[in-house]
């Protein structure tokens, strides 16, 4: 699935080839490198005050350090349990393990929530606090090709990475078990130091994030879950948000996505052959492959850049003056040349400049070809007239577009253009989501990052996708985002890692990241 659990992991989505070359720092490009210039002038994280009393924080910090080994082992235990929804591999076991970890961390109520797919988890921690915070977990991980890994993906080996520090290597290390385990470590540290968790928690988890969260809405929209979430001030997903230089980005929502296959076949068309035939027959037999080409040709402008599906983007909200201003500020902190180099791109579409390219990335709905496959695909040629051809497409959506309306517009357009026979098979996707910069959770994130000496780059939207619409849309309308110091790379790629002990004081290892969650909880309580 093309759903990316957060902005920083977008490049980690299925695009493994892309990932291998363009690491996460290059997604918006150069953010890391140019932010480094600013970061160099900043003090190291002070955590001076935050919302917590200084003595509380000293005790909790001591507890974090005391429990370091325990926290690392917890994460290793979790990584060693695969839980791959795409392969239906040990998913229920992964659910059970996650539930036990939640109980151990102090959630008093932890319930398995059945769905039409893999089960979800609904858990609450009542701290008797005035305020309540929502937490989103995923407990599944992406598939692996073990031969591509330098250490086995389920070993959770601790490895020294020169210049970086000690990391744990394994599938799920950063996406998303590392940050999630670190958040649990924060709960253990607070309680272990004799303090109360400063906010009540309502947690929902799913085991199908990596296949596009097809049943997540089912899980969240159960009456008891809705009722609990309605009491929260917002919901966040723990995330290792730091780049290699310590910089952090905050995105105020994400694009939606629809992944689908367009299939042209002789069987459905009623023209052309029902199986591959000799290519000389083209002289008198219709070609489903040409039919697909002609259908595709109607979907975008002649340069391939602007969607040409009537109604598709009618509800796309134009970029606002505030968003443009936000991007203008961010663009100055990012490096266009680094970005272009990372992508191997010489020109943006329409030869726009850097700032406009970011505006487009944030605000433009897209129709993209992920893949083409039909007939003979091996070396050289083969003289066939194929009976079937497929285009793999993704549509990216901005507010207030919806996945179902985008799909309907596409189907309607194809039918009107004479391609009603071309199958439109949606394989996954969901709506965009938006969270206001003025929401308490985002303001708190910014405050906590700044307290750590990090000035986050703030962007209107992630161009990637995550299923935040379940929280930000009806009926909850919650602010939703990602938070957390810490660092990792390789989501969906080989040698995924999460930083345990950092060699760079500007980048937090697991203890510093744990501290960031403690700070965040205290700040949310304030």
């Amino acid at each position: 699935m093309g759903n990316d659990s957060e902005f920083d992991q977008v490049h980690g989505a299925e695009a493994v080839e892309a990932e291998a070359v363009a690491d996460r720092r290059t997604f918006l490009q150069g953010a890391a490198a140019s932010a480094a210039v600013g970061a160099a002038a900043l003090a190291l994280p002070s955590w001076a005050r935050g919302g917590a009393a200084a003595d509380d924080m000293a005790a909790i910090t001591a507890e974090i350090e005391k429990r370091h080994e325990e926290s690392v082992k917890r994460l290793q235990t979790w990584i060693r349990q695969p839980s791959i929804a795409a392969e239906n591999r040990e998913v229920n076991e992964g659910c059970e393990l996650t539930m036990q970890m939640l109980r151990d961390a102090g959630f008093q109520s932890v319930t398995k929530v059945p769905s039409d797919g893999q089960p979800g988890i609904f858990a609450t921690l009542d701290a008797g606090a005035p305020r309540t915070l929502g937490v989103y977990f995923m407990y599944d991980v992406k598939q692996v090709t073990p031969s591509e890994w330098s250490s086995p993906p389920w070993d959770a080996a601790l490895v020294d990475k020169p210049g970086l520090g000690k990391v744990v290597v394994g599938r799920g290390a950063v996406n998303q078990k590392g940050p999630e385990a670190t958040f649990l470590a924060a709960l253990h540290a607070i309680r272990g130091s004799g303090r109360k968790i400063p906010v009540n928690l309502v947690l929902v988890a799913e085991g199908e994030e990596e296949i596009g969260s097809p049943h997540f809405a089912q899980i969240v929209r159960r009456p008891e879950v809705i009722a609990a979430l309605k009491k929260t001030d917002g919901i966040f997903m723990p995330s290792a948000s730091q780049d290699l230089d310590g910089s952090v980005e905050i995105t105020l929502g994400a694009k939606g996505v629809v992944e689908l296959e367009l299939v042209s076949s002789g069987e459905r068309w009623g023209r052309g052959p029902e199986h591959d035939i000799h290519s000389s027959e083209k002289a008198r037999v219709d070609s489903p492959a040409w039919h697909l080409i002609h259908a595709l040709n109607t979907l975008v402008s002649a340069d391939g850049n602007d969607p040409a599906i009537p109604g598709f983007a009618d509800k796309a909200r134009p970029i606002s003056a505030a968003e443009k201003e936000m991007i203008a500020v961010a663009a100055k902190r990012m490096d266009e040349n680094l970005s272009k180099k990372a992508f191997g791109v010489k020109h943006w579409v329409h030869d726009v400049g850097w700032q406009e390219s970011i505006e487009m990335l944030m605000s433009r709905p897209t129709v993209n070809i992920e893949g083409l496959v039909g007939g003979y695909t091996g070396p050289g040629g083969k003289t066939i007239l194929p009976h079937r051809a497929v285009a793999k497409i993704d549509l990216r959506l901005v507010p207030d577009m919806t996945a179902l309306e985008a799909l309907a517009a596409l189907k309607d357009h194809l039918a009107k253009q004479g391609f009603a026979d071309v199958e439109v098979n949606m394989t996954g996707g969901y709506d965009p989501n938006s969270t206001s910069a003025d929401s308490g959770i985002i303001k708190t994130e910014i405050k906590v990052y700044r307290n750590a000496g990090i000035d986050p780059i703030i962007l209107p939207r992630s161009p990637g996708s995550w299923p935040g619409y379940v929280f930000t849309g009806e009926p909850l309308r919650l602010p939703a985002g990602h938070f957390g110091l810490g660092h990792g790379e390789g989501a969906h790629a080989p040698n995924e890692y999460y930083l345990i002990d950092s060699a760079n004081p500007k980048v937090q290892g697991i203890d510093g990241a744990t501290r960031s969650y403690v700070e965040f909880l205290y700040a949310m309580a304030a």
Copy 2:
């Protein structure tokens, strides 16, 4: 390669999937089945007179029968020597074996002809006869996937096929070692009976037919080869021309073919990425896949059926009144429903009728998509923007089009349409060829078939391709065709076979096929 060494093997070309369903009788469709009605009323092959004196023929026939085991063993020996140009596998060994077989059959001069690829063979048999006949051999065979075979492809096992008789199973059995070995058996039988070969022979052979004969012109156009071929009345390739019911088709030439890949890439285009990147970047990065779709869209009419490349078909000779009449006669002997059923086709292009569909098959140049491959081609989706996409295309050409002019027209068109960056990589192909129905070789073929009680279906052209242009074009301008009774199936497919002992008196086994070559040689001498 898309070059099909003869009409009857067209369906046997690389289209293995097609082959598995549509056997050779269904290529022009129903030819076999409806011809069967006529054949039932005919006498069994009489060979009553032909050009040979009756006592000559009786002695030769006895010799054929006497040498039956020897002939079968020769074919088995040949099949057991693979010779696969596509894999550069034992090709020189195959050349040496073929040369020895030619010497054994009475060719006094047998020379290996070097080329920039695999070697050819130039051989002459001077019988002191007034007339000279050209012969074309190929000694290479198509690749195999042994696991798909019921008996190993290099075993040349003799197998009983219920209702058909005893066959030899092996790669090359029908394409083309079986018919070629049978022709050699005819030479052995004539000489073994104490008779002289009735015509002189000039033979050229190649070992790269299955990869598109890329160096065959080099071999044929050597001065000594040209000089020898110029003395011939025409050139033929031995071929197992009988369908399961004994019917035979004669085609007066073949379409030409160009196989090529169209490659759109960010590297060449100078727009879009140089490697696969995350699909969300489509909002600001050009897509080489869309670029390919738009380029493809300009190549054919909106229904995908008519080439739209200016200049491409300018030299296409329209179908003549004589050709139309030939097709009208043939169409009545062929079964449209059988044809449509074999292809899984409900309508011909433009909903034309049966006769017109055959006219189109014979006379229309085509632009066909063999395959599409780009980006992610596995199950489901993957959120990438691919840097490269490829369309595998074949062009079919009719006289007086040429492969090079077709290629040039395509390149010129793409450049003018703004797709100069799209690579056009020709992987193989050659010009069409034509032979007059009034040529001596065709008239003799018809006469010999009719002497055998078979009324051949005559068609203006094979919709498939073989490298006959080397003979029919400048400077030789020879008539060229295929001839031979006998039967086999499975060219380029698993379980290729050639009929040894026929259970059906209307279909000839190896001895009856040998006799057909004897008759043909005598008839050519007359």
